[in-house]
């Protein structure tokens, strides 16, 4: 007792090309193939169906209805895949006082079975990426497993559909769901819409949807275990993931599919201390690069949530470390996964000396300028049993500063107008300290500042 939500009826043209004189039904062609291309940056799916149509010579009228779905009626398009020059699709009519129905008027110079392709945009199908990371016990390598989860809430069962996923940020003017809910496909120039005989139809819809859901579960149960490959390729600014074979995702269901599984990605245990961004805590990052050296780099990695575990022993017992959500990562881009604040790596800044000097006075002998000189020691401790990399950011409230560093401060760089960065590598169970003195030029002393 399967119900089709999308109906196509081929109708013989009677005298007038009008909808009101109800049309005769000739054939009800079924869907031969269906392809769905699901976006993740917006609630948007491109559906492409192949159906065979038996056309007569002359005028043909084709009725397409999509009750209970979330199809954008303005996106409907039909293309003949054979005899393209002999088949003219003159117009698509959305008849009055009927919802979710379109009528194509087709003039054909041939009388035969013609394959056509019907495309439209729908909402209600979504997908997202998520990841599992498993660190080796020395935390030098990580196994990264990527998954995609496709969810169908479109109201339409897509059976044996070729499923494709798009990674990328697409520009949309209107939400497809809003277009699907419109009373009139292209809206109406009348500011306040006229009332339609809606409520009765709504009731029927709800009932039908419910009965379908019950019938669908059996069909889906056997499909969940399939393991398929995902073919990835770049197109324009997007990445297209094509799932091998076909999928059946009944409405209301989601499906998890493995996207990739990479063992042994070398990772850097990176810690950051940046009071400006995180306050006075050390934040742990896992860092690697989306490139070949790291067993990756074939395609960008779509953003998603990552749960990180650590392998504890040969029996593969796991310890959960934390989770992070990351952004889209282009090929060759560095990845830094924020795993949250930690206390086993410590950065301790201490103000050791503060003084003022080089006073300037104006004509009335008021103070017009001076220097603030601060000396800080930075103690960095690694209490872990693995080597770590630590980035320490120091941000100043002014751009008129001079700094001198002393001790073992690793790699030093000026980040921008207001901040500097120290990068330090620390062996397991070790500590290190360095000192910096920063001079802030205040008031008229800024005139003496040289870059």
């Amino acid at each position: 007792m399967k119900r089709k939500m999308l109906f196509i009826a081929l109708c013989a043209f009677t005298a007038a090309p009008s909808v009101r004189g109800k049309v005769d039904l000739v054939t009800l062609p079924s869907r031969e193939r269906v392809q769905i291309t699901i976006y993740n940056s917006a609630d948007l799916t491109l559906v492409r169906e192949a159906r065979p149509l038996t056309l007569k010579e002359g005028n043909n009228s084709l009725q397409f209805s999509w009750e209970n779905t979330l199809i954008d009626p303005t996106s409907l398009e039909m293309l003949p895949k054979a005899h393209a020059d002999a088949i003219h699709i003159a117009e698509l009519t959305y008849p009055p006082r009927v919802r979710n129905l379109g009528l194509w008027n087709i003039t054909s110079e041939v009388a035969e079975k013609v394959p056509v392709e019907i495309t439209y945009l729908t909402s209600g199908l979504t997908w997202r990426a998520f990841y599992m990371g498993t660190l080796t016990s020395d935390e030098k390598h990580m196994r990264l497993q990527g998954y995609v989860r496709v969810t169908n809430n479109s109201g339409e069962d897509y059976e044996n559909a070729q499923t494709r996923l798009i990674v990328g940020k697409v520009h949309l003017l209107d939400e497809i769901a809003a277009l699907a809910r419109r009373q009139y496909p292209y809206g109406s120039p009348v500011p306040v819409p006229r009332s339609v005989s809606g409520p009765v139809v709504m009731e029927k819809m709800a009932e039908v949807t419910w009965s379908r859901r019950a019938g669908v579960e059996l069909a889906a149960a056997g499909e969940m275990a399939d393991k398929k490959e995902i073919i990835k390729e770049g197109l324009s600014e997007y990445f297209l993931y094509t799932i091998e074979g076909t999928e059946t995702i009944p409405t209301g269901w989601s499906k998890r599919l493995p996207s990739f599984d990479t063992d042994e990605i070398p990772v850097i245990n990176l810690y950051k201390y940046d009071e400006n961004r995180f306050g006075t805590v050390v934040v742990r990052y896992l860092s690697f690069k989306n490139d070949e050296e790291h067993e990756l780099g074939e395609t960008p990695i779509p953003g998603g949530n990552l749960k990180v575990y650590r392998n504890l022993d040969p029996q593969q017992h796991l310890s959960y470390i934390g989770q992070s959500s990351f952004k889209y990562i282009p090929v060759d881009e560095d990845v830094e996964l924020n795993l949250g604040a930690v206390s086993d790596v410590v950065v301790e800044p201490k103000l050791m000396d503060a003084k003022t000097e080089n006073y300037r006075f104006d004509r009335r002998n008021n103070i017009s300028g001076w220097d603030d000189v601060q000396t800080w020691t930075m103690e960095v401790r690694n209490t872990r049993d693995i080597p770590v990399k630590i980035e320490i950011y120091r941000t100043f409230g002014t751009s008129y500063w001079k700094i001198t560093n002393k001790g073992v401060f690793g790699e030093f760089s000026k980040e921008d107008l207001f901040s500097v960065k120290y990068t330090i590598l620390l062996p397991p169970f070790s500590k290190q300290a360095f000192e910096y003195t920063v001079r802030f030029y205040q008031g008229t002393r800024q005139e003496d500042w040289k870059p």
Binding site: S18, R20, Q35, T37, L46, R48, T74, I89, A90, E91, T93, Y94, P95, P96, R97, L121, R164, I166, G168, K169, V170, H171, L172, L173, Y184, P185, Y186, S188, P189, V190, R194, G234, L235, S236, E237, Y238, L240, T242, E292, P300, G303, S325, K327, P330, V331, D332, E333, N338, D362, R363, S368, S399, Y400, E415, D416, L417, T444, Q446, E447, P451
Partner: protein, 383 residues
């Protein structure tokens, strides 16, 4: 039940000298002959309909009334077609509390006179939409444009000639509450230029360093540029504004949806840019590396009254794509300024706006293609 009639024309014989309150209507109910729907003005739709009036010698009153439609009363015109010299429209009167008017027509004989009645009818209009499929290389578009007729006027048009601002009229019937989509332009090979733009005016300062933006990528807007001219196999008429949906051939006998944008009206010879989506494979990291006050001028109090600045701005541009790209970068320097040193060429778009065209090669095995812009400039005479 062939729809409802909302507009009536009734010829009334001028029998009574004084028009009574209960007006007599009815002599003949002339059928509508040729009807024209003119959609050349985007703001209003003009209906022209021809009717044959049975006129008698002497004074005739013709009643034109409507219900459940919205007609601009002042726009109603009557044109006599057969005997313009023998038939005279004397005056038009509007009966109280009625959606109607009465024409007083003087005729020198008994005529079956064809007249044209024209008026502006509300809530019937047209939209234009575009659908374009780019080839895989994104160099040309298969462009189609559709005319969307929407009739919510309250009136059914069984058969009408529809006129746009160019091209042939075509016959089309459209009922009340009906919407029709008609293909009216096919341009199979329209050259297209893909444009990436980083515009400082649209990038908030906290997005200058994308690595410090949590949770989202800072995308670079990507547009397709189309020129409405002969080289594009267009250029015959202005392209109306409307929603454009762009697709791309995926090389597997299918397409993907690239994005959509509204285009404004594109006159002949002009270009339009359709913003389709954001690239996340080009990354711009902009930093201000110096901002110092120099050449200080002070008043007698020692207060600075005038100064120049010494500023350095850097922008690192990385292309992670496996294809080359040309990034248009827009920078702004407010006020009076001069450039001391800039390592890339720029065009001065206006007093405060600089435009850079930055060619980025594709990424290589060594990593992303990277370029760095350094602008060293001074803002002058800042008060």
């Amino acid at each position: 039940m062939n729809g409802k009639k909302s507009i009536f024309v009734v010829t009334v014989l001028a029998l009574l000298a004084v028009p009574a309150l209960a007006r007599i209507k009815l002599v003949a109910l002339p059928e509508r002959a040729a009807t024209v729907i003119r959609l050349d003005n985007p703001n209003a739709t003009l209906i022209e309909e021809e009717r044959v009036l049975t006129l008698q010698k002497g004074l005739n009153k013709v009643d034109f009334s409507w219900k459940a439609v919205s007609i601009d009363e002042d726009s109603i015109r009557l044109t006599v077609l057969d005997h313009p010299d023998q038939v005279n429209l004397l005056n038009v009167s509007y009966p109280p509390n009625e959606a109607a008017l009465v024409w007083e027509i003087s005729s020198s004989g008994d005529y079956a006179e064809t007249v044209r009645i024209s008026y502006l009818l509300r809530n019937i209009d047209r939209l234009v939409t575009y659908k374009a499929v780019a080839d895989k290389e994104e160099t040309k578009l298969d462009l189609r444009s559709y005319l969307i007729l929407r009739n919510f006027s309250g009136e059914d048009f069984d058969k009408a000639r529809v006129l746009l601002d160019y091209g042939e009229a075509f016959e089309q019937g459209i009922d009340h509450e009906e919407t029709k989509q008609l293909l009216f332009l096919k341009a199979p090979e329209v050259p297209v230029t893909k444009v990436w733009t980083w515009d400082v005016r649209r990038v908030p300062r906290q997005h200058w360093d994308p690595s410090k933006v949590e949770g989202e990528n800072v995308g670079i807007p990507v547009s397709y540029r189309i020129v409405n001219n002969k080289e594009s196999k267009l250029g015959e008429f202005a392209l109306w504004g409307g929603k454009a949906r762009l697709f791309q051939d995926d090389g597997h006998d299918s397409t993907i949806f690239l994005g959509e944008d509204n285009t404004a009206m594109v006159p002949v010879g002009e270009k339009t840019e359709l913003y389709i989506g954001d690239s996340r494979d080009i990354v711009v990291t902009q930093k201000q590396m110096r901002d110092q006050q120099i050449n200080l001028r002070k008043n007698n109090e020692g207060k600075i009254v005038l100064y120049d600045t010494d500023e350095i701005l850097t922008a690192k541009i990385e292309n992670f794509k496996d294809k080359p790209a040309v990034l248009t970068m827009i920078q702004q320097i407010p006020g009076q300024w001069d450039m001391e040193d800039c390592n890339m060429e720029y065009k001065r778009k206006d007093a405060y706006t600089l435009e850079f065209e930055i060619s980025l090669p594709a990424r290589t095995a060594d990593g992303p293609a990277s370029k760095e812009l350094t602008m060293h400039y001074h803002r002058r005479n800042v008060r």
